[in-house]
Symmetry: C2
Subunit: 237 residues, 2 copies
Amino acid sequence: MPDQITKRNISEMIVAKIVRSIEQGDFIPGSRLPSESALMERFQVGRSSVREAMQALSIMGVVTIRPGQGTFIRADSKAAFFAPEVLAPLVDEEVTQNLAEAREVLEPIIAELAAKRATTDDLCQIQELLYTCERHLKINEPLYELSAEFHLLIAQASHNIFFLRLLQSIIGIMAARGARIEENRAFLQWELESHIELFLAISAGDGLKSKELMTTHIQSSAMRYLDMRRESEEIDR
Amino acid sequence: MPDQITKRNISEMIVAKIVRSIEQGDFIPGSRLPSESALMERFQVGRSSVREAMQALSIMGVVTIRPGQGTFIRADSKAAFFAPEVLAPLVDEEVTQNLAEAREVLEPIIAELAAKRATTDDLCQIQELLYTCERHLKINEPLYELSAEFHLLIAQASHNIFFLRLLQSIIGIMAARGARIEENRAFLQWELESHIELFLAISAGDGLKSKELMTTHIQSSAMRYLDMRRESEEIDR
DNA sequence: ATACTGTTAAACATCAGACCATCTATTTCA
DNA sequence: TGAAATAGATGGTCTGATGTTTAACAGTAT
């Protein structure tokens, strides 16, 4: 007798159906999902099951739940395997260092892949982002988010969705933990130049150079961050 | 007036408290968590909130829920960042290939780290596992699980818990998806020899060699797997 | 006209109680 | 003694009620 797979939880079945609908384009990223009561009717289940499914999707970073408004499908560039805000409290100092180490080895590989696989569209998005960064730097607007976005766009250009989601999770968790970097002008200037250099290597399809540039970029970025932290601590004294 | 951060969900607060209790040793891995009704009383909340928290912990791979029995804290070696059984339905063929690619680049790095950081205890565990493999191979007992365990023990020896959890997730999802490899004796023999060679390089602390061996091991393993699959498909015809 | 304010409706958050399915352990009976 | 029946515990699901948050609208004062 087949049908043995029907052993899953109701909420898991709902999760699978919704994910499939998103993949098939029935639900568009950024749009609102039907309300809980509507989903109850559609799937002929109780509210608990719908809520468990929504929560699962939320934790997995597929949707964002906004009380009073509804449940929204996350835009793809924001899709993490885990919602950082849920995971961050679980992460202690040791794991944060592990994350940093993982990022150090992952990002160069991702950059190498991106150099090999980036489409014209990918490159245009990155270039546009860099222009925006320049503008913001000139008028002293904050650009921390933009810097993170740069790294994510590269991951997107690697055309490995797992890497993209992974990096999104790592960056999200680290941002949720570490005090946000102070907007030191010299640092930002250096970072932008470094990003532009990386962009050029990726555009040229030079995998090896992209990998090396990303390695040094991540490492010096971490070092500069630590330096600044030490300085501000000294000032505190 | 501060106090603005007290905005979190009730279920998230419960999640944080339970995780902290596990870290502090109040709950021991492998043991049973208090029942839902007990947790209701302890935290003075409704059952929905407790259940949402339990579900979140389950998805994140912190606990395993067994209907009729209770909720159990996962042993550390089994801890994934997310429960493969939950994620697997979301993963399609493309993502599976992404996962394989990720594994190809991650495992060599992990092996390199392991060669640098493995403690005597780590090495003993691996050696013991290899002995068990030899025994199972002689009497023709299945050893698929053991093979996966070998890779996880190496990740454990890398002393980067994030890598360990990541690899556990990847292997778990791939196992949940791909048809389990057939227990072809020639393949198993080759695999064991390959594992032993890797173990020796790691024991010797030879990072570079470990990395290279792992690279070729993963790649040939994938190739042999595809070969076998093709053969069995031809037989099917 | 503009800006502020109160109301309302929709949506999610939480609670409470009930019933079902499954598993464990115990009890019961042949 | 051993197998079958049973009771209790536990998670899974449904339902109804109430609280909070948000957006949108309408009304009022400036």
